[in-house]
Subunit: 223 residues, 2 copies
DNA sequence: CCTACCGATCGGTAGG
DNA sequence: CCTACCGATCGGTAGG
């Protein structure tokens, strides 16, 4: 129970490392083939241990799935949420959150694209606890964007007549599509389409409402 | 081989009907749980026939998957493509194609949402023949939109400075997101967010470039 | 379309 | 963490 039980100080850490290694392989596999394709036997083979060796860490497949989602949530929070939230509230944070997501897709943090986009498509229809978690996650993400849009409206960074929920939807759409197409075409540069779409949606909701700034024209800055 | 082999004229039709009934169940199941969750045993149970009874119709699981995709393609062409293409070329056809897709989502043509959105998410990463089909399908859909945008530009229905591929991406994003969220929340009315996003993206690319027409404001018509 | 069967793999258990 | 095993289900075959 404590570090006094043995003179091999790595003993306890070994179990934790194996546990983490299993979850790491599980996240990668699930991002590519879906949570439903996760099997204890496959993970065991991939990690070179016995099936019951993997099983002993989780005690049920359901728990393996749950812990895999939790581990992926930590990755998402570290790679997308934290850097995105570092920007000041309002329009800057909206842009920062969108950019963090697109960068995370571009960097290939998960080999099969965004873990949660995969989860959304896999569990949008089937009922159950994972479906319910996905609903909550999507609502949270949209509410986060919507809240920052409200702030931006109050701060005069966006036209106060903007429909916040509608704009949140219009920002989220290109992020999702960029993720799927970047994965499909093995071409992370498609995320620039997402950047253009985010810029366009925000430009359209800008307070001045200048006609020049709200087109789907090639980026005026030549980016 | 001909209708003279028996005096029971429904004999040949029965086999075809069973074949079609299997594919119908397969499409519905795959739209909900994915093509990977299709198993011959499950289809047999659902249809009340033996496993080898189902197997005999396809001779391999791969062929079952292929024929399921082909059957879903026919549904998509009938429910989305045909009505969408009925509109005159250019901007009207773009609007019509988007509306046909959103209506197809709204009507719940497949119980698990758009079959091809499911297929995109499931096979965006894993290599193989289905991945390649999905790539071709996505390219075709985007090329169709892009081509009509080009026509609209030539006809003066859209600003000629519009980046066609970028606008096609911005139209497609909300369609995909509307499909996933409508399925997730069992609420087909989310498709109105998709309609708003399509209207906004097209308004932004309109030739006059009027500032009034390119906001994420609540629909001016009060729809 | 059926029964009967094959080897492989599934999630999970027993016992160490 | 291991071996050895369970019943269920997988894709597929044989034979009718």
């Amino acid at each position: 129970m404590s570090e006094t039980t043995t003179d091999q100080p790595r003993r306890r850490s070994d179990g934790e490392q194996t546990h983490a290694a299993i979850l790491d392989a599980a996240m990668r596999l699930a991002s590519i083939e879906g949570l439903g394709s996760l099997t204890i036997g496959r993970l065991a083979r991939e990690l070179g241990v016995s099936k019951s060796g993997v099983f002993a860490h989780f005690k049920s497949k359901q728990r393996l799935q749950q812990e895999t989602i939790e581990a992926a949530t930590e990755v998402f929070e570290r790679e997308v949420f934290a850097p995105g939230m570092a920007a000041p509230e309002g329009r800057a944070r909206i842009e920062s959150l969108c950019e963090s997501y697109l960068s995370y897709v571009e960097r290939g943090v998960f080999p099969g694209g965004c873990f949660f986009a995969q989860l959304l498509a896999e569990f949008d229809a089937p009922s159950g606890p994972i479906h319910d978690e996905v609903v909550a996650g999507q609502e949270g993400w949209l509410a986060l964007l919507e809240g920052q849009i409200e702030v931006a409206k109050r701060e005069g960074e966006l036209d106060p007549a903007t429909d916040s929920a509608q704009l949140a939807f219009e920002l989220y759409g290109p992020l999702e599509l960029a993720n799927y197409l970047a994965t499909l075409n093995r071409d992370p540069s498609i995320t620039d389409r997402g950047r253009g779409a985010v810029r366009a949606a925000l430009g359209r909701a800008s307070p001045h409402g200048g006609a020049r700034s709200c087109g789907a024209q090639p980026s005026p800055g030549g980016g």
